[in-house]
Amino acid sequence: MGGMDLRIVHLYPDLMSIYGDRGNVIALGQRARWRDIPVEVRAHRAGDELDPEWGDLYFFGGGQDQGQDVVGEDLQGPNGARLKEAIASGAAVLSICGGYQLLGHEYVPDAAPAIPGLGALDVRTVAGKRRYVGNLLVECDGSALGGAGGTLIGFENHSGKTYLGPAARPLGRVLVGGGNNGEDKTEGAVQGKVIGCYLHGSLLPKNPWLADRLLGWALERRHGAVALAPLDDNAERLARDQATEVARARP
């Protein structure tokens, strides 16, 4: 795959990277390198100036409350507009948990005014009383992702309840766990090439088909449609099978 390269932007790694979400950036990077595609990862921190031209793929993880307000502020400024511009020009985004909530329209706390989000996903999140903590198994038919799907296995840990508007499609259907809100059996949201979900785990190492879908989306921004060479995913499959068995036995 001569001449191709991949540019990943890790959004707020200092504030929005707990629960091991960094593993997603590791997985994306390695799966590109194993195919001889050079990778550069840049961090965007609150207060930096985001360059909407540069990144092919943005990763936005979960954080503590302390991080989320600083990040929310940064996204309400010019950097939010720049990120939207990047999305409009074909960049792919994976967001998890707090990052997912901040890409929606708003987060409505229990007894405080709503905190506005970026609005890149047609979802809104309201604070809930119950915390969903446990293994999360999801079935994706692939319709929202423009192709074949599969199952996704991860671990959720959130009390926010997320509801989808008409422009966003669910990433998948919950088999085990709470998912978006514990009510409608949906998990995650997809809108164009923007994905949000509650799957920690880390998500992508054990779900390599989704990692490759994101890589394809990211590479086509500057390199056109790309057929990714297959990799030996035996270790990934074994990890996914074991985690799935655990999720079914001990949700």
């Binding site: 504030l15 960094r22 997985a27 903590v133 920690h200 190492p205 270790a235 074994l238 990890a239």
Partner: protein
């Protein structure tokens, strides 16, 4: 009082039943006593002549409280200590029960209570400790404790309710720990590492505090020791690493142990030598030394006690097995893992690993944390690895993505089978490093005992 006596009797009966049936009695008797008398903790510590010392924090609390226990014993005191590391409410009460008479009077004269950091706020409210030691606060088992900021706030709130005669012993190098003193009415003392050669200047990816705990503006570091621990100050409000009451001016590390020169101790005082390796154990020793000083115990007594220190369950314990040496390292969170790996790489060897990942409640049900741990530093040095545990495949995958050659890895199901395999793969005379989460380490210890290689840990 009748209720306490009843609780003590009920708990003791449970203990008797368990120990005579050959089982460890580290928690259940406490659970029984607490069910009968919820204030058992206060009544069981009220009679201690030298008071109760709570030792808490994410990492190092077991080692620090064991060090302190050795020190007070060297001073001629008689500690009541929850030594087996069962440090939730029920473990504390169980330990106190084991060391009390049938009427609930303590047999020792000082309580050294290792307290789980999530339990600490509740425990502080139910006993009036003389000293509270906090070693560090890192992210740990987020599915159980949720977020570190919220936990730190709960601890600080509980500390603010303590009476003025409680003394705090805090890690000056950890900004989250240092901020716990903000509402405290009594004396606050700090320990830290002042040796400028310890640590680097680049913040590590697992930092939990990149913002000031007081004003939330970015923190700046002159030196980073581990994660967010180091020489820190706020870029805005002036909050900074507090002055140290006890500091190591020179830290010397080697495979056999650590040596600390205490700032201001004078040339007549020998350095503190502790026969266990790892920079994080230097912090544990400093915490124990400062707590001892607060209790009025002299440095020479402490130095004598620490020179013969033996590590706790899974904390760098050594076990001989068929001519190989197994070094047991308990890991439970990214900071602890990185510290363990740091200690391992300090030796300059290429480690042969037996690595075990479980996802029970006591391990962290969410195994995501392995992706925050710095396997990338370890990967190029791994000679050989046998992987096991309930989530062995996640761990094998982590090593694959960190760049370990898959031919050096073997996943083996079953504790005994994994141990036998790693022993077979290791030449006689070589060391095997056993890295495991809590319940995996328990299972491996049991399997080693079945193979005849080690005593059970509660016989300690």
């Amino acid at each position: 009082m009748i209720r306490t006596a009843l609780a003590v009797s009920a708990g003791k009966l449970a203990r008797l039943a368990l120990t005579t049936s050959g089982r460890g009695a580290t928690a259940l008797p406490g659970l029984v006593a607490l069910a009968v008398d919820p204030s058992a903790l206060r009544s069981l510590t009220a009679g201690l002549e030298h008071g109760a010392i709570c030792v808490s924090g994410t990492n190092g609390k077991t080692t620090t409280s064991r060090m302190l226990s050795d020190i007070v014993r060297a001073a001629g005191w008689s500690p009541v200590h929850n030594r087996s590391g069962s440090n939730l409410d029920r473990g504390l009460v169980a330990a106190l029960l084991a060391d009390s008479t049938w009427t609930g009077a303590p047999r020792g004269n000082v309580g050294i209570l290792e307290v789980d950091e999530a339990t600490l706020p509740g425990v502080l409210g139910r006993l009036a400790p003389r000293v509270v030691v906090v070693t560090n606060l890192f992210r740990d088992q987020l599915d159980r404790y949720f977020e570190l900021d919220a936990l730190a706030k709960r601890i600080a709130t509980a500390i603010a309710t303590l009476p003025g005669d409680t003394t705090l012993v805090l890690n000056a190098d950890d900004p989250i720990v240092a901020s716990l003193a903000d509402g405290h009415r009594g004396t606050v003392t700090y320990f830290g590492v002042d040796d400028p050669s310890v640590g680097g200047t680049v913040p590590q990816s697992i930092s939990d505090a990149t913002r000031c705990p007081r004003c939330r503006k970015p923190l700046v570091y002159r030196r980073v020791v581990l994660a967010h621990v180091g020489d820190w100050s706020c870029s805005s409000c002036g909050f900074a690493r507090p002055a140290r009451d006890l500091a190591a001016s020179v830290v010397t590390l080697d495979a056999g142990g650590i040596e600390l020169r205490i700032a201001g101790a004078g040339a007549a005082i020998d350095p503190v030598a502790v026969p266990i390796p790892g920079l994080y154990n230097a912090y544990n020793a400093l915490a124990a030394l400062l707590a001892a000083r607060v209790l009025g115990i002299g440095l020479t007594t402490s130095i004598r006690a620490l020179s013969g220190f033996r590590p706790a369950f899974g904390r760098l314990e050594l076990v001989e097995a068929e001519g190989r040496t197994l070094r047991l390292m308990l890991v439970k969170n990214p900071a602890g893992f990185n510290a363990a790996i740091g200690a391992l790489l300090e030796t300059g060897r290429r480690p042969r690993l037996c690595a075990a990942l479980n996802d029970r409640d006591a391990d962290s049900r969410d195994v995501s944390w392995i992706w925050d741990a710095d396997f990338e530093s370890l990967a190029p040095r791994v000679e050989d690895a046998v992987i096991t545990g309930l989530r062995s495949r996640d761990l094998a995958l982590r090593l694959k993505y960190a760049g370990v050659d898959e031919r050096r890895l073997e996943v083996v199901d079953g504790w005994t089978a994994a141990l036998q395999r790693v022993i077979a793969r290791t030449p006689v005379g070589e060391e095997i490093v056993v890295v495991a989460t809590y319940t995996a380490m328990l299972a491996l210890r049991e399997a080693l005992a079945d193979l005849g290689h080690v005593g059970r840990f509660w016989e300690d």
